[in-house]
Amino acid sequence: MDNLIDQGIELAVFGMGTVFVFLALLVFATKAMSSLILRFEPEMSSGSVDTVTQNSNATDKGRLVAIISAAIAQHRHNNK
């Protein structure tokens, strides 16, 4: 049975170790990535929203416009 506990301790130590090493490396990698990106694209953050909007798929736009048009039509109709 002690074997079971031994196995558990080993699993816990290696597991917790892996989690920590992995996330610590991720901290460094993330910081490195952010500083690289911010160096080369300093103005990016402000323009980001527009990019998303422009890229939004044509079909999605069509659907949205249809809903909006209907909403507006209904709105006008109700306000008559």
Binding site: L4, L11, A12, F14, F22, A29, S34, E41, S45
Partner: protein, 376 residues
């Protein structure tokens, strides 16, 4: 007349066993908690209802050709349902707060201590003869401490499907109970001064950083913990679809129709594991108790890690946000915010707590990978 007796014997009244009856009551209780108390209703309503269906005598629903068993075979034995849900969760996750303050990733690491200490606890209870858990079962029980439903279900489905029902019920119930479980622990481990620490506003994060991050995470997983790649891969895929901004159609569907369909089917599948003969065993009590321990230790470890980081760092962090490292997104982050505002009404910790909160998702997926690799 003899046919009438035969008819009467096909009724549920004549066939039901006491354990089945008890499980139907438990199913109704889960529904009550979900509907009236707001306990994770998206999962606990399908699970609770599925649990009732699974205990109806005289008809195959959760076994054989029954529909719930078919859903189980289709989606849980294969791992497809939890992975698709994880993809959808990825498509709903905003890594912005984490990217603005990457060192909070360490809080998400610390909180996984709940997983491994619970694993040890389960083996200790076996050692002293109170329960009889295998290493695989202990690992699956530990993952409850990850406070992340799809991860727990995915791991349990592979390592210990026989206790999947109890694990899922424990995981979702305790996630719903986070506002009750965490605050006393958080208060006990922090001083008033620590709880009052206010943190500087997070910087804005660029879209490019948000696009590159899931890829960076994927590569790091591939290089270091490949066994976590199915989980984190699907998660990063969902997140990339959301952040890249060019596949809005797919991202919307992953966050809505697809995750909703899979949630219904996954909940019913999990419910199929609430059959009385599988669920009403003593080990279920052990699992429920250990799950609670897992959440508590995870919370404590997150808070203590934050305090430890403050020893070495100039820019102090409020240790309350460490508790959000267990995941339970976004409940644990809200709890951190609420306890923080009790100490200092002008102290808005919500966005700061979102960083460790999503870090906890990554952390428990990495832990899941290790468990699948070495206990699997």
């Amino acid at each position: 007349m003899s046919r009438l007796i035969e008819l009467w014997q096909t009724t549920g009244i004549m066939q039901i066993t006491l354990p089945q009856f008890s499980m139907i009551i438990i199913g109704l209780l889960l529904l009550y908690l979900a509907i009236k108390k707001g306990f994770e209703p998206l999962l606990l309503i399908p699970i609770g209802f599925g649990g009732i269906l699974s205990n109806i005598p005289g008809v195959d629903i959760a076994v054989g050709d029954g529909i719930l068993h078919q859903f189980y075979v289709m989606g849980l034995e294969t791992g497809i349902f939890p992975l698709l849900i994880f993809m959808g969760v990825g498509a709903m996750t905003d890594f912005g707060p984490l990217l603005a303050n990457p060192k909070t990733l360490l809080l998400g690491a610390a909180a996984q201590f709940g997983i491994f200490s619970t694993l040890l606890g389960a083996l200790f209870l076996t050692d002293i003869g109170l329960f009889d858990f295998t290493v695989k079962q202990a690992a699956a029980i530990g993952i409850i401490g990850g406070a992340d439903g799809p991860t727990a279900i995915y791991v349990a489905g592979i390592l210990a499907p026989e206790i999947l029902g109890a694990i899922a019920v424990a995981a979702y119930s305790y996630m719903a109970l986070v506002p009750l479980i965490q605050p006393p622990i958080m208060r006990a481990l922090t001083t008033q001064a620590e709880r009052e620490i206010s943190m500087t506003q997070l910087r804005e994060v660029s879209q490019t950083e948000k696009i590159v991050f899931p890829l960076l995470l994927l590569i790091l997983v591939a290089m270091l913990v490949p066994s976590a790649a199915p989980l984190l891969g699907m998660f990063c895929f969902g997140n990339l679809m959301k952040e890249c901004g060019v596949v809005t159609r797919l991202s919307d569907t992953a966050q809505n129709a697809l995750i909703n369909i899979v949630t219904i089917l996954l909940g019913l599948s999990v419910g199929s594991k609430l059959g009385a003969d599988q669920f009403l065993v003593s080990s279920t009590l052990g699992i429920l108790a250990l799950g609670m321990v897992a959440f508590s230790i995870g919370t404590a470890a997150g808070v203590l890690m934050a305090k430890l980081m403050n020893v070495f760092s100039v820019q102090k962090i409020n240790p309350l946000i460490g508790a959000a490292g267990v995941s339970a997104v976004p409940m644990a982050a809200r709890v951190a915010n609420k306890v923080g505002m009790e100490a200092n009404p002008n102290n808005f910790l919500l966005m700061h707590a979102m960083g460790p909160n999503v870090a906890g998702v990554i952390g428990s997926a990495v832990a899941a990978g290790v468990l699948l690799q070495f206990a699997g």
